[in-house]
Symmetry: C3
Subunit: 312 residues, 3 copies
Amino acid sequence: MRQLLTTTELTIDDIHEILSDAEEFAEGKIWRPNKQTFVSNLFFEPSTRTKCSFELAERKLGLEVIPFEVSTSSVLKGETLYDTVRTLESIGVNAVVIRHNKDRYFDELVDRVQIPLINAGDGCGHHPTQSLLDLLTIKQEFGGFNGVKVAIIGDIRHSRVARSNADALVRLGAEVVFSGPEEWFDESLLEYGHYEEIDFAIRTADVVMLLRIQHERHESKGFKSASKYHEAFGLTEAREKTMKYGSIIMHPAPVNRNVEIADSLVECERSRIFKQMQNGVYVRMAVLKRSLEKQEGGKVNVINHQKWTVAY
Amino acid sequence: MRQLLTTTELTIDDIHEILSDAEEFAEGKIWRPNKQTFVSNLFFEPSTRTKCSFELAERKLGLEVIPFEVSTSSVLKGETLYDTVRTLESIGVNAVVIRHNKDRYFDELVDRVQIPLINAGDGCGHHPTQSLLDLLTIKQEFGGFNGVKVAIIGDIRHSRVARSNADALVRLGAEVVFSGPEEWFDESLLEYGHYEEIDFAIRTADVVMLLRIQHERHESKGFKSASKYHEAFGLTEAREKTMKYGSIIMHPAPVNRNVEIADSLVECERSRIFKQMQNGVYVRMAVLKRSLEKQEGGKVNVINHQKWTVAY
Amino acid sequence: MRQLLTTTELTIDDIHEILSDAEEFAEGKIWRPNKQTFVSNLFFEPSTRTKCSFELAERKLGLEVIPFEVSTSSVLKGETLYDTVRTLESIGVNAVVIRHNKDRYFDELVDRVQIPLINAGDGCGHHPTQSLLDLLTIKQEFGGFNGVKVAIIGDIRHSRVARSNADALVRLGAEVVFSGPEEWFDESLLEYGHYEEIDFAIRTADVVMLLRIQHERHESKGFKSASKYHEAFGLTEAREKTMKYGSIIMHPAPVNRNVEIADSLVECERSRIFKQMQNGVYVRMAVLKRSLEKQEGGKVNVINHQKWTVAY
């Protein structure tokens, strides 16, 4: 059983294996488990993209998706995450995908449930399948990572993706720099790369990787500062013109148009934003395959004919 | 790719083709696309009937339905309808069915997404599959439309169905009249048919087509006027007795019992109300088939190996 | 067509037949209807366990599950349960599973719809598949019911399960006693068994069957009394030590840890709590099979080519 909780737990070999499987899926490869297999997606936060992407990946692998709606679940009666997952395990679900607003929610589950967990985002912490789809997109574009300069721009401190992407990219041989408002830079990121002034970063990067501004987390600043943000740190039409030949634009979406990026650039020739979404399905197929193919047949965390041993 | 946004965009030939396919499905015909095909139903308004009916039609065609719940989607983070649909398209959804409370919501999508859109109702505007199921029910009953007199009765001004049904029926050769409260009649409907006094309309029609009173839109009038409405314009037991031999009762449902129609008549011999629901599935199968069978294999609005061309 | 509304309507032979089918499913038996079959789960109350368990049972039988979300349905427009179920029947759903907070909600449906209804819990009344999974768990453990002493402990008055379990167990030959707060005992339960003091009941029972404390129904008593409840009537670590060799612990879940049962005992050797959940799937498969295998092919409560007979 191989779960996926964080990108940092993956070795370079693991990453290459997943990306290589994902590329095969992108080319039409078919892989399906050899028995009826059930999976459930537990999303404790709103999400279109990630949830639908997992759903599609699961269907393409022929998995049966057991719907789980938080709003109609026993979580409302105060049930813990552990009891919810153990319940799903007991009734025969073979893997769970979880998104939760609590950092490292999975710590209470690891080693206590026997089915694989796939982390679809925890708090401000990790979002490994997002990182992997970013890596796949870069690999497809440049053939590899050596010497590719990636500028990660925006709300770095609150981004699930910034830290784990930086970690993986550096390990894979890429060069990482950060930009955006300096107050959102975080000293702890220095181990991956330094801070660069926005115009320089955009002009010199092979990959301009924009992060989503979390309106939810910066509410007080309002719309006025949204357009100010665009001027100061967004990918404006003017800045895009300074980008290197062959360089690309990435964004995890949903995009705040005219904040992180000019509306007119969302689908421009350099943009890989919708390509990233497409890649998300292939990466998730690879991650699910990896979790399921090593599972022993029908193992469930209840002894099947659990009984007291008879005392003679 | 053939979408379905309004009934008016359909030619007489289109309508006959859809009805003819629907009749074949009613008789047990099986049609399935020759590859795994994904569809998503985006319902921004509550609906049992239409949503479940599409879902059933989709399953009968062997389609994979990707669940989309507005209440847990990124629409809550302010994502536009366009970005939502483009996302679904990017991850591999092959067609979307949409119901939205905004009139002509689809204008912002047409020509910007490459997958077929099927309109499951927009604002007070159009609801083409409802019209088509009404047409199928009439055709099954009378063998055709020529000379069939249809009385459309009730809240004509706010009805999605009244206008598009009237338009299609007239084009197909039927005679259309309107009845109900005169203040709900609309001058613009005169191009399809005139207004008739309620007792005369019911006595002379082949099809008594009742519309749902939108309590949501006439709240101030309260229950008292609901029973007054029934007396004045509803299909009472007394009025039903005056109906022609062979004439039928239709209603798009959900029915307000004892308002538009007496409780005892909802399932009477003349009533085709539940038959209409049954026909809804067959019509939707025909519409989905029409949208999917002309699709080119696997075409998605992202170039599959989108890359910058290499400059030598 | 065989529905399942209450446990009391089942004969001893019916129960043995269902348990025997369930045991076969537990051993890997495969049964599937010979045509595409649709089922819908209508849950008007929150539930993880029961809803997911039915969903899994349905998928294992190869059924197509038509999603029905109360929060986005026409029930919000005031549609009755009868009209909702008739709608589903008309569009081709072959069976419905319903959970509703109204006692005997099914009385308005019986004999008025032609598809089987499976009761997944009504008000404080019945929850037959929960009873059946409890019976299966006891049968697996003790080989049968004769002479097995079952102590049902807790909120007996408000429990769906207490009364119907007691009735079935007594009919099957088991001995039933009740314990917990005396004010929650109900004179009408005396026909099944007497009240016993908690320590004696736990010490002498083969099955300690704990009921969930309905916080929702005893809100005023607060957390303080929750720990008091545990001391007075819960399965504490001390009481567990007094249990007979070979005796087991059951609970319908979700568990209130350290209220009905000590946290450390939820997954102890005696506990069959997660085993019960696993059994729930097999029992529901048996119940669904029983409802579907006797159905006549494609019968729907609308005459397929419903028309007026032609008068010559």
